[in-house]
Symmetry: C2
Subunit: 389 residues, 2 copies
């Protein structure tokens, strides 16, 4: 026995090479789609223990903040794309200048990296947004609160996710320590929303676009815990409007690959909350629940292949996230969950279990929302907490 | 940048380890299911260029005919299973004697390796078989033809697949060169079948069994080219009877993991043709077409986890194999196939393209058999031959 070398005597069918920067669960699940299509997925990981690194042969270790590592990584890739938004914009521009096909490009991706630029651009193209402004000091925040009312939501312009980098302030005094931290901020008016929706669309370099059905996302403590597909009881005209907004944003911003648009549904209509340009938690339900998973769709889009059907495979699909608890012994709970519900689909990401961390998800499919939702909830609670409820 | 080492500082969630001997497309597609379940799939490959070796980090190079390589491979595995039937029976027995959990065990698997033992055992348990006999010389074959009529089908007791190791003889003279080759043979009466069916069942070590819907398999030159799920127009009682036969064989033979039972449908009922104890070509449709794919099901069975729902996800599912032609440039054909049919699912195995070799498959799903079948056929012909028909 020996360890394998990657140069063999045969001539295997070598497909297009897609390089994904980052090796979290999004890259890991992309590998499942890449295997089917014969696409060679390469990832840039910080450690061989990362979620995707453990299932991808062509894992390169390096630093996504290093221009040299990125250039070395991109060599030989037919397309370069992302598992996260943290690659410095100037490095992405440099890769494109070197002739690499980077999707999404820096001009688009910057709107998922920088909330101020995102708000400016969305406002310019007429996409519905909460009232917002750049704020630098207490006077700015006070003026914003004066005009738009309290509470005021402060958001870090860069780096926030899953509720981090967001502060809801009832008065200017609460904004003071956030302002004092020196982080670049925008203020947004607090939106009294009815629920949160998300629209996932894909756009390819030559301009084809598709939209998945609009879903409802349920958050707890700023973290998505559940996705209901399609969004229950959503007026078809509102749904079509949401898809139209998302496709328009993708086109106007020149997005290539996936774009997830998180929205608030309010009494006065839809408002765009956040953008992500990669496979997104709100689209994990598509693995079993849509004819083309978001991961396959992203690969097709970044390679400029024709996009796949986003048609749902069941009337109701519910995805529930598995958030880490104190006990890492999750596999012992497979027996009950699988015996209890032979149709439940379990996804573990192979990540270290830490409290509150997304370590997997479950998906249930069926005809009746309450039944399907209960199945997903039961499996998620049991897998993470070992409690039968 | 550096190449990854598999010992890191973090403590990732490490799942059960399943070792699969062989690294063809069955192991490759099993990896997609393993990724979802957080199961660590290890394969024993002859070369790093093999289909599964290219997508599985824990690939070990070795020889499945070497007892030492097999023992080394099995160390640390929670279950050991197979991508093919070619591992010597005595080596499998030795692994079990060493305390490794091997599924299926040698006592079961030998019936998928040795056609004479298979026929003896099936006859003993009353499973319907064609007339058959062991034959050693021309007199045996002549006597068999005398009793059961011509043509007589000679089959190699070991090693045949995809039509190899099968000879249809109209007279004893045609049998002479086969007999002269020294290969151990059985004779079977030629079955004038209406069509070929296949039943895929799973059985776990503690005895749970499930059956997928009965499918029709369409062969050309002894190679499966198309699978129709469920078998069109099959009488529900006949279907239930076929499932019952397959589940009984699994139980009586002590199969653990998957069992594919290939059958002839004849005017006088069903006859068992062949057995396979692993994921099977007749079950590739389950990746998108059943709630639990055969690959996930096999992993669950060999780990003695509760089995998953075999329920179909669409009224009609058609799988068409991609058989290699002269031109290896298959990826250039993705554009047409994906644009023509956004719902078609393409699977490439990353194997060297050789004429007649199974290099991938496509799956179409829908409501109407003729439409779905035509979609699969069109995609398969275009992908392999570049011809628009």
């Amino acid at each position: 026995m020996s360890t394998p070398s990657l140069t063999g005597a045969n001539a295997p069918l070598v497909g297009p090479v897609v390089g994904m920067i980052g090796a979290g669960q999004l890259a890991r699940m992309t590998q499942q789609a890449a295997i089917a299509l014969g696409i060679e997925l390469r990832v840039l990981a910080a450690s061989a223990d990362e979620s995707a690194a453990r299932v991808i042969v062509d894992t390169r270790l390096g630093d996504y903040r290093s221009a040299a590592d990125l250039r070395e990584f991109a060599k030989g890739c037919d397309a370069v794309t992302f598992d996260h938004e943290h690659v410095p914009t100037e490095h992405i521009e440099a890769l494109a200048a070197d002739g690499f096909a980077v999707h999404p490009g820096a001009d688009a991706l910057v709107h998922a990296q920088d909330k101020a630029l995102m708000r400016e651009r969305l406002t310019a193209i007429g996409a519905p947004c909460p009232a917002w402004a750049r704020v630098a000091d207490e006077a700015d925040v006070a003026a914003f609160g004066e005009e738009h009312g309290w509470p005021v939501v402060l958001k870090a312009v860069r780096g926030g996710y899953d509720g981090r980098g967001v502060w809801v302030c009832d008065a200017v005094e609460q904004a003071a320590p956030v302002l004092a931290s020196g982080v670049a901020l925008i203020a947004e008016s607090f939106v009294p929303f009815e629920r949160e929706l998300a629209v996932l669309v894909a756009r390819s370099p030559h301009g084809q676009g598709v939209s998945y059905p609009v879903v409802e996302t349920v958050q707890r403590d700023g973290i998505c815990v559940e996705v209901l597909a399609p969004a229950p009881g959503l007026d078809p005209e509102v749904a079509a409007g949401a898809q139209s907004i998302a496709l328009r944003i993708a086109r106007e911003l020149g997005v290539t690959g996936l774009l997830a648009v998180e929205m608030f549904q309010t009494a006065r209509g839809l408002l765009v909350n956040e953008l992500a340009m990669r496979p997104h938690n709100s689209g994990h339900w598509t693995i079993e629940g849509a004819r083309t998973s978001q991961f396959e769709q992203h690969l097709r889009a970044v390679l400029d292949l024709p996009l796949g059907s986003p048609a749902p495979t069941a009337p109701v699909v519910v995805m529930a996230n598995l958030l880490g608890g104190d006990d890492p012994d999750l596999f012992s709970r497979y027996e009950h969950v699988m015996a209890h519900d032979p149709g439940i689909k379990v996804h573990f990401y192979g990540k270290e279990v830490r409290p509150g961390r997304k370590i997997g998800h479950v998906t249930a499919l069926g005809d009746d929302l309450e039944t399907v939702r209960e199945r997903a909830r039961h499996a998620a609670v049991y897998l993470t907490e070992g409690i039968y409820t």
